[in-house]
Symmetry: C2
Subunit: 116 residues, 2 copies
Amino acid sequence: MIEGWITQLRKGLLEYCVLLVLRRGESYGYEIVQALKRIEDLAVSESTVYPILGRLRAEGFLKSRDVPSDAGPPRRYFALTPRGKVRLAEMNAYWPMLTKALNELKSGKPEREPQT
Amino acid sequence: MIEGWITQLRKGLLEYCVLLVLRRGESYGYEIVQALKRIEDLAVSESTVYPILGRLRAEGFLKSRDVPSDAGPPRRYFALTPRGKVRLAEMNAYWPMLTKALNELKSGKPEREPQT
DNA sequence: ATCATGTATTACGCAATGCATAATACCGGG
DNA sequence: CCCGGTATTATGCATTGCGTAATACATGAT
């Protein structure tokens, strides 16, 4: 029931999460998925993360390089571009505004200035 | 540029905001829009809120009654149903999990338990 | 050899939602 | 009579999360 709502809530947020993971340095899709699966209540699947990586690269926020692996097919490493870092900074700036707005709604909603 | 991302971020969240507004008692679309416009960085338009109200009612989370107005067309007042209150409670329970997950990502991401 | 398993990526397609745009209805004032 | 503020409805687009499935490579079991 509520899963449908959660699915909607994640829109945009997962993009943010991916950039946060890459903030520390380059990584590849499969590893990013594992990292996000480790976070409780944030379980993601490959079919969610890979499209995000592709889009972020297409928009110039990520660059990639292919590295052969000894335990499977070649890995595609992604890393933040300068534009990507700017984007992440913007997200880091906007997110608190949202949580603040939510908190304003939760903690009373005075129609007019409460007097005294 | 970043507006597109914000649009995605709002998915699901605005539904939550509407229920939060109605938590205090019944209200009608236009008034809800005004209430949300009052919150900084949460500006919404009528074309966003009205479909949400329709959906929430169709799903049984809201009930409505029409009241004639002396300053325009009749108002459609919405109020939470028991199911709506349960839903809101579920959302109130889930939201902190999301913010917690985000904070875990932001504040370090230890691959293994940090020793010491 | 064959099959399953873990690693790693790609493609297809559906269901939802936010939102721009526009139309409509009602009232009062210039 | 037209304009602005109140109040709702309809249409249609773009984007995203995600289920499902296919594919490639290596190792180990049957």
